[in-house]
């Protein structure tokens, strides 16, 4: 059947034509066109199969567009000469490749969407938007169906005529039901080779909001515990360990700038207000070459840009902390801002009225972001973050006053520039500073302080030269200034004898290049190399140690003089095989290097002391080799995802500490260190339901983390204190309708390795423990269940959205100990205390110390 709606004879290229046929021969279609237009068609019947049947549907297209759809889309070149249209088949070399590029955004707010997927089912290829929402893909000129999707948004599917380089921005609408994880990936996307579900995990703001969180707040770092291969220390801690690495081997980036202490209140709260977070990508293996500087993980946190369309307010009012945010356009669709602030409400926890004025117990953070779109090719972002904790006893009612305080400040300025449809760049300037204060006497203002500061300039380029390849390259230069800790006393008589611990001044540079190439539909090869350079310079004092770590000399290094240099290549390779649709088998190897580390022999779950130090003559750079193999499979109905990944990791130049190392205030800090190797291995399993009202995942990890350090444990291998062989977590979310949302999470971890006494002796009135091998024992297993229920108080689609969120952290009140002690006594009032009166001896108890029983929280959240 042939329908010709516009039958006017025309050579006007702008003339609109509608034409529809079903299973009609090309010969017949050409005859129709001959009739509809005033063109005559010439072709060689031996070169062009004119009998082939085609389906064509054209509505109100120009003549040239019609020719593109009918001929170019069927691999036939067309050329107009006078009134003739010459048709000839495409040679392979003639096949035109065009680019489609642009941004993927939230339709309501204009916020760019990171990691949104774009899929071309006809061609079997796809791509994802980058950290700035930009995408680009090169394809043979043709007509395509393009599907775009993102977690929590309604997917779109459109027909697209792609016959020339095209810039097109997609705007996705949030899902009407406000359901998280409505669809995690588009159909056929797993196994497409564009997103790997192995070695990394993405936690969008919607997914984060699904987890029960702590005290009514979605908590990014605690959410990481739900990822197989990542283990949190325990209750109230933001310390986490990835595939057998130390907690300082994790890099946390906020809009490309590192944050050194991501905790509030010693770790009970994460330092970033959850409302400000747009997207989190956690890499635990197979790091992209653009990331470096840490051995175990990169947590790439992206903050919200701000609503481009209208002013909006949001807040979360809770018993422990509250936050508010405001966002909106500065110039509609051109520039916007996002500002959030959070403050603790903890003072009601003070123990009694008489002490109420004796304590400070506060934290706050502020996040501000501004962005300005100069034109379609240039956009600027400015991010500012500041956070502070202050915990102190400020009036003297006992032996002394004390305090702990820390603050993080960082700022990032970024410039996105699109050179053309195939080349995207981002330039970043950032500075980050972290200060820590330990007041030995708050009243007298006697304190110990350490700090780390770094500033950096970096560039990242992404080049999309052809459909099967993406290349990235870039560089970074940075300066690092570290004060490893100095003491300041108000009493000049003491201060004049206080030695000065020398500061560190370092500079670094890194260059990287990486490629991501597909070989047919079955194979993807990702490769890259990062070259990392580090140097230390004066003004400082360099110490020399003998083999027994005794100081044998020192040099005063003048300002600017370089006394240490190192250059390390870091290759990264992965090979993915897609045996069938919805499946990926991946093998990866990567080497990572770390030039800066925390020196602390603390076994506390809480952030207590941060002494950062760079690699140098006495501290060889840490590096690690990781080999991983994994498989991921999506079920036929696309609702389930199952993955399994095994890893083997070897760490070199690992740091441990001599017995009772003095790390707080020591000019010869480096002499307290001992070095060796570590290894970790394990297998991670995950079953995930990715769509529907009921979704979530179950993950299990079995792993080991073992260290061998010269001079420790008689040089014998021992388990690291974060060695937790079994790790199970279950996260479930259920959204029965508009009104309610429920979530539950259960965590299980083997108890951490600890050292318990094998004997005791008495000295000077004290009962002193005797230890055998290091980490010879284990804490009881850790487990905990959290639940949350959210009641939506607004109608669907209402402008003012508000909810009540009830969270029960540690539902069954499990007391998960973080330490076992053998040095306390039972007081007359039943309290467990350290004995002060040593007259006549005392009976020592075995005790365990835990935090966080059942912690209920009722929060009111709003957004309008």
């Amino acid at each position: 059947m042939v329908l010709m709606i516009n039958s006017a004879h025309s050579q006007d290229p702008n003339q609109q034509i509608s034409y529809t046929v079903y299973q009609e021969s090309l010969k017949k279609i050409i005859r129709d066109l001959d009739h509809i237009t005033s063109y005559h068609f010439s072709y060689n019947p031996k070169a062009i199969d004119a009998d082939r049947k085609l389906n064509i549907k054209i509505e109100n297209k120009s003549i040239h567009s019609c020719f593109d759809i009918i001929f170019t889309g069927n691999q036939i070149q067309w050329q107009i000469i006078g009134k003739q249209v010459i048709l000839k088949p495409f040679k392979k070399s003639d096949k035109k490749t065009v680019s489609l590029s642009g941004y993927i955004r939230d339709q309501q707010t204009g916020e760019v969407l990171i990691g949104a997927s774009m899929w071309f089912p006809d061609a079997g290829v796809g791509t994802v938007s980058n950290a700035f929402g930009f995408y680009s893909i090169s394809l043979p000129a043709a007509e395509y169906i393009v599907a775009v999707s993102y977690i929590g948004y309604q997917p779109t599917k459109d027909r697209l005529m792609l016959f020339q380089d095209t810039r097109f921005d997609y705007n996705l609408s949030p899902s009407v039901l406000e359901m998280a994880a409505v669809e995690i990936v588009d159909e056929n996307f797993v196994g497409s080779g564009n997103v790997s579900f192995l070695g990394a995990m993405k936690l969008g703001s919607k997914t984060l909001s699904e987890l029960p969180g702590f005290a009514g707040d979605a908590d990014i770092l605690k959410a990481l515990d739900a990822i197989p291969g990542i283990a949190n220390y325990g209750d109230g801690s933001t310390l986490f360990y990835v595939r057998g690495g130390g907690s300082d081997q994790n890099m946390l980036l906020i809009d490309d700038a590192p944050i050194y202490n991501p905790s509030h209140l010693f770790g009970f709260f994460t330092a970033f207000a959850p409302d400000a977070i747009k997207d989190v990508e956690a890499y635990k293996g197979d790091f992209p070459a653009r990331f470096g500087g840490r051995l175990s993980s990169v947590i790439d946190i992206r903050t919200k840009d701000g609503n481009m369309k209208r002013i909006g307010f949001a807040g979360n009012l809770g018993p422990y902390s509250s936050n508010v945010s405001v966002e909106g356009p500065i110039v509609k669709d051109v520039s916007s801002f996002y500002i959030s602030a959070r403050r603790s409400n903890l003072n009601w926890l003070k123990p009694d009225e008489s002490l109420a004025n004796s304590f400070d117990l506060n934290f706050f953070d502020i996040n501000a972001k501004f962005n300005y779109q100069l034109n379609s090719n240039n956009r600027f972002y400015l991010t500012i973050y500041g956070g502070k904790d202050d915990f102190s006893r400020i009036s003297q009612s006992s032996l002394k006053t004390f305090g702990i305080s820390w603050n993080n400040v960082l700022g990032t300025l970024r410039w996105n520039h699109v050179y053309n449809d195939k080349l995207f760049s981002n330039f970043t300037v950032y500075t980050s500073r972290y200060n820590y204060f330990l007041y030995t006497d708050k009243e007298l203002n006697d304190f110990w302080t350490s700090s780390i500061e770094n500033s950096s300039l970096k560039s990242d380029f992404t080049y999309y030269p052809f459909p099967s390849a993406t290349f990235r390259f870039g560089m970074e230069i940075a300066s690092h200034n570290i004060d490893p800790g100095n003491v300041y006393f108000s009493d000049p008589a003491i201060q004049k004898y206080v030695p000065k611990v020398p500061e560190y001044h370092s500079r670094s540079a890194a260059f990287y290049v990486s490629g991501d190439q597909h070989f047919g539909k079955f194979l993807r090869f990702h490769y890259g190399i990062r070259l990392s350079y580090w140097e230390n310079a004066g003004n400082t004092t360099r110490h020399y140690y003998d083999v027994n770590y005794n100081v044998i000399g020192e040099d005063v290094i003048p300002k600017g003089e370089v006394y240490y240099r190192d250059l390390r290549p870091e290759p990264r390779i992965s090979l993915s095989f897609y045996p069938w649709s919805g499946a990926e088998l991946k093998l990866s190897y990567n080497r990572t290097t770390q030039f800066i580390q925390v020196l602390s022999n603390s076994v506390s779950p809480f952030t207590s002391l941060d002494v950062w130090a760079p690699s140098g003559p006495n501290i060889e750079p840490q590096y690690a080799d990781q080999l991983a193999i994994g498989i991921v499979r999506q079920s036929g109905n696309k609702k389930w995802l199952i993955s399994s990944e095994g890893f083997l990791k070897k760490f070199y130049n690992q740091i441990d500490y001599r017995d009772h190392a003095n790390m707080l205030y020591n000019s010869y800090l480096e002499g307290e260190l001992r070095f060796g190797t570590a290894k970790s291995y394990g297998i991670e399993l995950m079953l995930r339901k990715t769509s529907g009202r009921f979704n979530g995942w179950i993950a299990y990890t079995w792993s080991r983390a073992l260290k061998t350090i010269e001079g420790i444990n008689q040089n014998q291998e021992f388990p690291a204190f974060y060695d937790r062989p079994h790790d199970v977590n279950i996260n479930l979310s259920y959204t029965p309708g508009h009104r309610f949302k429920f979530a539950a999470a259960w965590y299980f971890l083997s108890g951490g390795a600890i050292t318990t006494p094998i004997g005791f002796f008495n000295y000077n009135g004290y009962v002193v423990p005797i230890y055998g091998s290091k980490n010879n024992d284990r804490l009881p297993d850790y487990h905990r269940m959290d639940i949350s229920a959210e009641l939506r108080l607004h109608k669907a689609g209402a402008r003012y959205q508000h909810n009540l969120v009830l969270t029960l952290y540690n539902l069954y009140g499990r007391k998960n100990p973080f330490s076992i002690n053998f040095n306390k006594v039972m007081g007359d009032d039943g309290k467990i205390v350290i004995p002060t009166d040593l007259y006549g001896g005392y009976e020592v108890l075995s005790t365990q110390l835990s935090v966080a029983g059942l912690i209920p929280s009722l929060n009111y959240t709003f957004r309008f």
């Binding site: 003070k350 005791f760 002193v768 055998g772 004995p835 002060t836 020592v844 005790t847 835990s850 935090v851």
Partner: protein
């Protein structure tokens, strides 16, 4: 009657800060795999007196009585003299120098012990200390007194150990109570190091005493080696079990032959105070 009271301690806030933290007694099965060894708790000082060395043995079960290392041969010597110590009382593990003698500054003393066919030795030297500044005490709301200052816990040049012996057995109203219930012994330290677990040490009991209590305070100078030993001991005892612990480890020693403990030589200063109402 011991006048101890567990008032709001310095760090009472911390468990509350950690919202619902708690410490509780547990039964923990230790994994003893250890042969008992000799422990030396010995100090000689600049005071002319009979000095005592306590020899015990280690034990594997918590709260066991340490064994008394009886029958040892114990000698202290310097380059010119030697003093043989005798066990008194018999089978007590306490060894005393017979004549009174006072240790001298910058002289190296050697402790020699022969016990159960094993030989142990240690060397120590006395360093100069600072004069003693007496403790400060303060009357509390309960009408009793409490020590509120002993020394700055940080002293980069002159580390010291303080022993404060409190005796109110002679105070009217307490004379009917067994004397041992009216005495307390407090130790404090001024060390050249700072530790987080010291600054934020776990909750400790408080000791109260009435007016009329006799306070005997002794101050001992510490060599660098002894200060390091005491710091390690405190990290494993009084400063351990808080929220900011460091990795546990065995104490260092200056004794050879596998013995534990420490032999120290200290300059001693003392003061006696009677608590005024």
């Amino acid at each position: 009657m011991k006048l101890r009271n567990k008032i709001n301690p310095l760090l009472l806030i911390l468990p509350l800060l950690l919202i619902s933290g708690c410490e509780e007694r547990i039964d923990w099965l230790l994994k003893p795999d250890y042969q008992s060894v000799l422990v030396v708790d010995g100090m000689i000082t600049s005071e002319a007196r009979q000095h005592t060395i306590r020899l015990t043995t280690s034990y594997t079960q918590l709260n066991s009585e340490p064994g008394k290392a009886s029958g040892a041969q114990v000698i202290i010597s310097d380059k010119d003299s030697s003093w043989t110590l005798t066990e008194f009382p018999v089978n007590s593990g306490l060894y005393r120098t017979k004549p009174f003698f006072a240790a001298k500054l910058n002289v190296q003393y050697t402790l020699f012990i022969s016990y159960q066919s094993q030989v142990y030795s240690a060397k120590a030297t006395m360093v100069k200390g600072n004069p003693l500044v007496p403790v400060h005490y303060q009357k509390k709301n309960n009408g009793l007194f409490q020590i509120n200052w002993i020394a700055n816990p940080y002293n980069p040049r002159k580390p010291a150990m303080f022993t404060i012996f409190l005796d109110w057995s002679g105070v009217p109203g307490y004379s009917d109570i067994p004397p041992d219930s009216c005495r307390a012994l407090i130790k404090a330290y001024s060390l050249p190091t700072l530790d987080v677990s010291e600054v934020l040490a776990p909750e400790a009991e408080k000791v109260f005493f009435p007016a009329g209590t006799v306070i005997t305070e002794l101050k001992y100078s510490l060599s660098d080696e002894y200060a390091a030993f005491l710091r390690a001991m405190l990290l494993e005892t009084s400063w351990s079990g808080g929220f900011f612990d460091t990795a546990p480890a065995n104490l260092p020693t200056n004794l050879s032959g596998g013995a534990l403990g420490f032999f120290a030589v200290c300059e001693e200063h003392s003061v006696r105070i009677i608590v005024k109402p």
